[in-house]
């Protein structure tokens, strides 16, 4: 009976889930302590907002869904890259470039929304290719490349937008023109969801992104392409021996990752209720994809839920104003990320404790046996597998 429980506890899916829940719990506790520190009398009020504001009205719920959509995509972007062994911190840049491509297609080329979304994907793919190529061909760390391209993307888009008068709003020239005025067909349709939820923000974007998540899930788990990418990420040597082209896969992986973030940009800015601002700071949506991916351990279906969760507490955070700054949510999120770096450890720790118990038992057996080695010099299974465990086989 206890062995069955042990096996269940050791199963990777369950321990990941528990680790995520624990991270969230600790993050929220930390956030509460911070609230109490800043304004003790209002701390419960603040906590209440974080936990419940997102569900408090139909409008709030639709805000959660509406903001979760682009977050889901940046989360998929980061998660996809993680699965293939890369850290795509450049999702922000790809998101921004994607947004630009979408707006250009929609406003200047007067394309319908779905074509603009494809353009967004194209923009993100191009932008994701740069860190991929730099890593594959020149072995430049993809984190630094991505960060540089975040900024290059931001400024390049700002520069280009400033020089396309058609795209800009007539009155305030540092934002893009209202989509409704420029090209109604570019706005993502609502399909009646706005009436259902009673909010003008609601549209089908969440359905689109959920569909994308499922597509990514299928690609990763049901196609030979996904098989190759994951193999590369898990064990480059074995994948090389299996004949897989590692360099090509690095580039493809970043391109797809970029494309996903790009669609995210398109989804957000083609909603008709947001206008792209020409400002000098990086958009947060790309960075928030990181905790979304980590919480879900890069599982596309899990990302659907973690993006909803992050969006939910973000709405709660905004509702905390003016007593508290909404950045508290970012603090909670960063604590969650920090803890997720440990969750893999926690799993490994549990495994190692159990293995060490086994090793000790084996040692005892051999010590007290007079036979010692078998004369033909054969060692037991346990010896080899234990030795390789202690040799740090984990990646």
């Amino acid at each position: 009976m206890t062995t069955k429980i042990k096996k269940f506890v050791q199963s990777p899916g369950l321990s990941s889930f528990f680790a995520s829940v624990a991270s969230i719990g600790i993050g929220l506790i930390f956030g509460y302590i911070l609230l109490a520190f800043i304004n003790p009398s209002m701390s419960f009020y603040g906590l209440g907002k974080i936990l419940f504001a997102g569900a408090s009205s139909a409008e709030k719920i639709s805000k959660v869904l509406y903001q979760a959509a682009p977050l889901m995509l940046t989360g998929l972007s980061v998660g996809f890259a993680f699965k293939t062994g890369l850290f795509n911190i450049g999702a922000t840049g790809q998101y921004t470039v994607g947004a630009f491509f979408a707006l250009y297609a929609g406003i200047v080329l007067k394309m319908p929304w779905w074509a603009a979304l494809l353009a967004a994907m194209l923009g993100g793919m191009i932008w994701g290719a740069f860190p991929g190529v730099c890593k594959a061909l020149f072995n430049v760390n993809e984190v630094i490349t991505s960060i540089m391209f975040n900024w290059i993307g931001l400024f390049a888009v700002n520069l280009t937008l400033s020089n396309i008068p058609k795209i800009l709003d007539k009155i305030s020239a540092n934002r893009t023109v209202n989509l409704a005025a420029a090209n109604k067909s570019a706005i993502i349709p609502k399909w009646g969801l706005d009436k259902l939820f009673g909010s003008p923000y609601m549209n089908i974007s969440i359905l689109i992104t959920a569909a994308v998540a499922i597509i990514i899930f299928i690609v990763l788990n049901k196609t030979t392409f996904g098989y190759e990418l994951k193999a590369c990420g898990y064990n480059r040597n074995a994948s090389i021996y299996a004949g897989i082209n590692a360099k090509r896969n690095i580039v493809l992986s970043m391109v797809i990752s970029g494309g996903l973030a790009g669609i995210g940009g398109g989804i957000y800015y083609l909603s008709g209720t947001a206008q792209f601002l020409v400002i000098k700071s990086l958009l947060n949506m790309g960075f928030n994809g990181i905790p979304v991916a980590l919480l879900a351990t890069s599982n596309p279906v899990g990302i659907i839920f973690s993006s909803l969760f992050i969006s939910y507490i973000q709405v709660g955070g905004e509702a905390m104003q003016p007593q508290f700054s909404p950045e508290i949510i970012n603090i909670i999120i960063s604590v969650i990320i920090y803890l997720s770096a440990f969750s893999m450890l926690l799993k490994g720790l549990i495994n190692r404790i159990l293995t060490r118990q086994n090793a000790r038992k084996e040692k005892e057996k051999v010590l007290h046996s007079s036979a010692g080695n078998r004369g033909d010099g054969i060692v037991t299974d346990a010896a080899i597998s234990n030795k390789s465990e202690s040799e740090g086989v984990t990646k």
Partner: protein, 520 residues
């Protein structure tokens, strides 16, 4: 007695599942060069690691100059004036020779390094012992021989009296080996005592005073080198009764399946070549075994064969096709299967399921995918078939994550996958390492079945039993060359042992079908 500067008495060291040292006694006299001889897995490195404080023995005592001591870590060993030169040098490549020597005991005033004093001492030691080094040269720029001298100077700088060398000549050129032998003689003339681990009989004869032989973790004996012969040493090292437990039917080898012509493979770790212009071939219906002590080029040769490493010169031909520059997948398609030495590195993706690992070499074939989509049902069927056929045991069957499987079953999975490809040439490196008798017998029967059905098998093995029982032809590798070719039925283990230890060699020659030795 006070005659002995080191006494290791009744040392037993156990790792999970194996007695690496079983009641071993070793005594080192002052001023002697004492060799420690044994095959792979004999326990030599373990014993020396115990002396150096890297491991603690389960049973036994160590005495230094007659006093019992406890050596818990290398610092304790250093305090007792014991020093060790490891097989893989512990040198910081971007540091100079001088900095490497003083690292850890830097002469300083209030933290500021005083390199002048160090330099004086090093120059003096260098002159006294004949260890020529360039103090300011960077370690990455100097020869391997000089790197080794730096390691020796490290020990002398710390006033070590007891010096342990772990396979010191593995990485040296013949000239450098001679230099090292001179150095060792100089060291003992000054009163140092030397223990050195080796499997090379020539060197033992040349420089050692006494030699202790270990076999499978047990103490075999200690001899005075002046009173012994290579043959006797070899017999002590490997000699035992071999049971010919496998019934092989006679198969006449057919056409040549694989030819290696003058293949040279560079080494990753040092400047010598790992494989030096080897030529051999493997024919259909035969099992050729590359025998030899680990580290003599077998691994590199196999990596070159499978395409994981590039060769620097030579040709490789599989069934008439030149595969010297072919990609790994192409070679796999043309009919090479490979059971790798390091199953965790090249053989398996540990985070994948058993089923996914079983199709690792074939997932792109039309049987398993359709327009890019994996045909999960087919993959599962195939996996279950292999699992049953090869008795691969796992917690959840085909869905088990391979990391959680035992080493033996992981190995069986790899073997299942590679043999089922029905390759023209099966390359197996240590395929039975870590397996129980039942599994070993099964795998041997598989290898023989391949051969019987007219395929070619290239086996690399360190287990002489396996070598003698399973192969049809034995090629002994030593220092990157083939030094001898044998028919297991007409040779003895001791004879092979001599070749493995470099004491004997035939002129390497290309073996063709015409000059094949007759088989009874």
């Amino acid at each position: 007695m006070s005659d002995y500067v080191v006494e290791m008495l009744n040392i037993t060291k156990i790792f999970p599942g194996i007695k690496a040292n079983d009641d071993i006694t070793l005594q080192l006299r002052k001023g002697e060069v004492h060799a420690l001889l044994g095959e792979n897995g004999a326990g030599k490195s373990t014993l020396m690691s115990v002396l150096f404080g890297l491991y603690q023995p389960e049973q036994g005592t160590i005495k230094i100059n007659g006093k019992p001591v406890k050596i818990n870590n290398p610092n304790d060993a250093n305090v007792l004036n014991i020093g060790m030169v490891h097989q893989h040098f512990m040198l910081v490549e971007v540091f100079s020779v001088l900095d490497n020597i003083i690292l850890g005991i830097e002469p300083n005033t209030a933290g500021v390094l005083d390199r002048k004093i160090a330099r004086q001492k090093i120059v003096e030691l260098s002159k006294r012992y004949g260890l020529s080094v360039e103090p300011d040269a960077l370690v990455e720029d100097i020869s391997v021989g000089m790197q080794q001298r730096v390691e020796i100077l490290k020990m002398l700088y710390r006033n070590n009296e007891i010096l342990i060398f772990d396979e010191p000549t593995a990485v040296l050129t013949p000239q450098e080996i001679q230099e090292l032998i001179q150095i060792m003689r100089g060291l003992t003339a000054e009163g140092k005592s030397i223990l050195f681990i080796t499997h090379k009989l020539n060197e033992i004869i040349e420089v050692a005073d006494r030699c202790t032989v270990l076999r499978k973790g047990k103490y075999v004996g200690t001899v005075d080198v002046a009173d012994t012969t290579r043959e006797e040493l070899s017999r002590m090292m490997v000699g035992r009764d071999i049971h010919f437990s496998i019934d092989k039917k006679d198969v006449i080898p057919g056409k040549v399946v694989f030819t290696a012509e003058n293949v040279t493979v560079p080494s990753r770790h040092h400047k010598n070549n790992a494989v030096k212009g080897i030529s051999f071939d493997v024919r259909a219906g035969e099992i050729v075994c590359l025998a030899g002590i680990e580290g003599n080029g077998q691994s590199e040769l196999v990596y070159a064969l499978t395409g994981i490493e590039k060769i620097s010169s030579g040709k490789m031909i599989l069934e008439g096709t030149d595969i010297t520059k072919a990609s790994i997948r192409k070679r796999s398609r043309l009919g090479i299967s490979h059971i790798p030495e390091d199953r965790h590195k090249y053989g398996l993706v540990l985070e994948y399921s058993l089923a996914n690992n079983l199709v690792l070499q074939r997932y792109w074939e039309p049987e398993f995918q359709n327009a890019g989509f994996i045909r999960t049902a087919k993959v599962l069927n195939y996996a279950n078939l292999l699992i049953k056929q090869y008795d691969v045991r796992s917690g959840q069957g085909a869905a088990t994550i391979v990391r959680s499987m035992s080493g033996g079953n992981q190995q069986k999975a790899i073997i299942a996958r590679e043999i089922d490809k029905n390759p023209e040439l099966l390359v197996a490196i240590q395929p039975t390492r870590g397996l129980d008798i039942g599994a070993i017998e099964y795998i041997h029967s598989q290898l023989i079945a391949q051969r019987d059905s007219g395929k070619a098998v290239l086996l690399v093995s360190l287990e002489l039993d396996e070598v003698m029982n399973v192969s049809d032809r034995i090629l002994v590798m030593y220092e990157g060359e083939i030094v001898g070719e044998f028919d297991p039925r007409t040779t003895t283990v001791e004879e092979i042992g001599l070749y493995m230890a470099g004491a004997k060699r035939n002129t390497p020659r290309t073996v063709t079908a015409a000059s094949a030795t007759s088989k009874k």
